[in-house]
């Protein structure tokens, strides 16, 4: 009895010593094995925001390509994406299922400000990374209080401040009318813009109109804005309403200097339906390439994206800017995991995410890279102003990086 026990113990000791150095390097958090990494995601595949479900599909397709090419450091990605219907209670349910039942290593690109707000405290309490969230709300860049949450895209208030700064410099006597969606996203842009104008906001902003996502059109609001005498228009709308607003403004004979929020700046899915003539003169900020923009037609990164779309998302609408976004953000994720190497604990994933130095992403505009640090949780802060000339977004000025 004792004899065999000693043998077993000795064998175990031998194995441990023999496997010593290699075993010590591999550190795994939940959801990680030698051959796979489990990544969780929450996207709206149903409900009022189902248009954004394209992002989840795009990311899944990108990870499939990565897996087909051998995975990351020999590990394939098991991408588990759940539908929350853009509803916070469902998002909480989904997050808990991913963390507690599926035991994912982290949650990546959960979409929507309300959904992410709902799981914010939970993720940080459970110490699970809430990485590269798909929303531009200003509140995700708070490493001191929320160590485990990080955004990815340029923040909405940051973008609005760029427009405000430009106005203060180039058109200080502007009379601004604002159309905004009456929710977290719209208010975030609005508040950022007003903050950017500072004391001048009171005199410069002559009209503010809101709309609900459930409204059929924004025509009535545009009429009111035109009537207010505004000569500058800040258009804070999601794609469908952006197209409506652009067209109605044109049709009603109102030709203001128009700033369009980046969320709705895709040429194929917004400007084309609105009309290229109607959209000429629009100003936005850009940080990604646009497939419908002729200036990128021969870019090798764009060609690679095109080929990827053909192979992994056949039949999908290439003019849908969500697929460019998905590609970029999935690439960023893979970079972080590559940096993590074999130390795939939640702590290290977070550490690597907070350690991105001038990382180039294929379809980001030249001059714009990912940069993070333990005190800076905003990977992309740089954007450039661009004006639509009827065919493409023509970038002007310098790349602006708020610091």
């Amino acid at each position: 009895m004792l004899h065999s026990k000693v043998l077993v113990a000795a064998a175990a000791a031998a194995l441990t010593i023999g496997a010593g150095p290699v075993a010590a390097k591999k550190m795994y958090g939940p959801g990680v094995t030698d051959t796979e990494i489990k990544i969780g995601n929450i996207n709206p595949y149903s409900g009022p925001a189902s248009a954004y479900g394209a992002i989840g599909k795009g990311i899944a397709a990108y990870f499939k390509m990565v897996n087909d090419n051998g995975g990351i450091n020999g590990r394939k990605i098991d991408f588990i994406s759940l539908d929350d219907g853009y509803s916070p209670p469902k998002a909480v349910e989904a997050a808990r299922e991913l963390v507690e039942k599926d035991q994912v290593l982290f949650i990546f690109q959960s979409l929507g400000t309300p959904s992410n707000t709902a799981i914010h405290k939970y993720m940080n309490a459970k110490k699970v990374p809430q990485l590269f969230v798909a929303t531009g709300a200003g509140k995700w860049n708070d490493p001191k209080h929320f160590h485990w949450t990080m955004g990815w895209q340029p923040s909405y208030p940051g973008e609005a401040e760029i427009y405000a700064a430009w106005l203060l410099k180039n058109k200080p006597n502007a009379k601004v009318g604002i159309l905004y969606q009456n929710d977290d996203y719209g208010k975030d842009y609005l508040d950022g813009f007003l903050k950017g104008l500072g004391a001048n906001a009171k005199t410069m902003v002559v009209a503010k109109e809101s709309y609900e996502v459930t409204d059929p059109t924004v025509d009535s609001q545009i009429i009111k804005l035109k009537d207010s005498g505004a000569d500058t228009f800040f258009n804070i709308t999601t794609p469908k309403f952006a197209a409506q607003a652009i067209r109605k403004a044109y049709d009603s004979g109102w030709k203001p200097l128009q700033f369009l929020n980046n969320v709705s700046s895709a040429i194929g899915s917004v400007l084309k339906p609105a009309g290229f003539e109607q959209s000429t003169g629009l100003i936005t900020t850009v940080y990604q390439m646009d497939y419908s923009d002729p200036q990128f037609k021969d870019d090798p990164a764009m060609k690679a994206w095109d080929a990827w779309m053909d192979k992994y998302m056949p039949g999908a609408d290439k003019t849908n800017g969500n697929y460019i976004y998905a590609y970029n953000v999935a690439y960023s994720m893979v970079q972080v995991l590559k940096q993590a190497g074999d130390d795939l604990t939640r702590e290290n994933v977070m550490k690597q995410a907070a350690n991105l130095k001038q990382v180039k992403v294929p379809l980001l505009l030249p001059g714009i890279t990912l940069d993070t640090s333990p005190t800076d949780y905003a990977p992309i802060q740089c954007e450039q102003l661009a004006k639509f000339d009827g065919k493409e977004w023509h970038r002007f000025g310098d790349v602006i990086c708020p610091k």
């Binding site: 149903s46 916070p88 299922e97 039942k101 309300p114 707000t117 405290k121 929710d183 996502v213």
Partner: protein, 346 residues
């Protein structure tokens, strides 16, 4: 509703509801209760959370059932009362620092008042028109909750995050287990109250108003008062459900409480079993678990699966899940009895 439809409703409702409990039913009830109490220790925290949500929705479904099933008034606006309950809890807990258990009675009272006040003008409206008025309430609710002037309390578009309560007296259980038991306790108390209410004179008055309002008022039932009160009570139940839900989810946001939620409650009422208290339990489970099931079947078109499931339920279980169970049970009884006809199987 025309006469034929009315008769059918009564038939289905009779099938679904049970006025008296036989001995075997009491045993069944006791077993179910025991299972519900023991559940938290056999399942993960995540499942506890789901079941706590199901309990909250079951309460809301019961509230709506009292109105539609027992009193014949139609409402597509119960998301509003759920919202009022949820926000009452959130504001009390986060702005007022008040303990979570006090939010339950307050939410109930606030909604009782709100429901009663809404029920008064609604008295003049019947069927379709009441449906539209309540639907309008559902549509307007998110906008009202986002209104800037009150955003200091409601959090405006951002909503309010709630801190999760801990089990009292340092009991050896997780927060989720405690919340489940707490919600279960609240709901049990209120379910028993509802059962008592609907069984007695008030219940008969309500059903009389539902089946034949003219005759009811001719017989001396104060139709107007009862109808408004029913709205109030129905809102009370749904409001408390909202408070429980808010505490479980730890977050309230205005756009959640939209007409889709009102429709979800309606779906719960009908699929669970119209005019039945056990039906409400199934209704709550339906609201939580069918969307998940639909998503597992098809990621590309989950709503299509959800819609198909709804339609299939209506084909094969027109009296709801509870009605179906009762029907099965009645058939079993009939087979067990030799000769003799059981009036309940008719």
């Amino acid at each position: 509703m025309d006469a034929r439809s009315n008769a059918k409703t009564r038939e289905l409702a009779a099938l679904a509801s049970g006025a008296k409990l036989s001995k075997s039913q009491l045993v069944g009830l006791a077993l179910a209760l025991l299972a519900a109490l023991a559940l938290p220790w056999f399942i993960s925290d995540y499942r506890n959370f789901q079941f706590t949500l199901a309990i909250s929705y079951a309460m809301a479904v019961l509230g709506l059932n009292i109105l539609i099933g027992y009193n014949g008034q139609f409402s597509l606006g119960h998301a509003a009362f759920y919202a009022i309950g949820a926000y009452t809890a959130a504001i009390m807990m986060e702005q007022g620092g008040i303990a979570y258990y006090w939010t339950i009675p307050v939410a109930g009272l606030v909604c009782l008042l709100a429901g009663f006040l809404f029920g008064l003008p609604a008295l003049r409206l019947e069927g379709l028109y009441l449906a539209l008025a309540t639907f309008a309430l559902s549509l307007a609710t998110p906008q009202m909750l986002k209104y800037d002037a009150i955003s200091r309390w409601t959090g405006g578009v951002q909503g309010v995050t709630i801190t999760k309560p801990d089990p009292p007296f340092g009991l050896p259980m997780s927060q989720d287990q405690w919340l489940y038991l707490f919600s279960l306790a609240v709901v049990l108390v209120l379910f028993v109250c509802a059962w008592n209410l609907l069984r007695g004179r008030t219940g008969r008055a309500l059903k009389a108003i539902r089946d034949n309002p003219i005759a009811a008022s001719a017989m001396g039932v104060n139709t107007a008062l009862y109808k408004s009160l029913t709205f109030g009570v129905s809102a009370l139940y749904t409001g408390i459900a909202g408070a429980l839900g808010a505490i479980a989810i730890q977050f309230v946001a205005p756009d959640t409480f939209n007409f889709f939620l009102s429709i979800a409650f309606l779906v719960g009422v009908v699929i669970g079993g119209l005019a039945s208290i056990p039906g409400a339990v199934f209704g709550g489970l339906v609201i939580v678990f069918i969307p998940n099931f639909a998503e597992q079947v098809s990621k590309a078109a989950p709503w299509a699966i959800y819609g198909t499931v709804l339609i299939l339920f209506m084909y094969f279980m027109p009296a709801g899940i509870w009605g179906f169970i009762r029907m099965l049970y009645a058939k079993l009884i009939k087979k067990a009895r030799v000769g003799g006809s059981d009036p309940r199987t008719r």
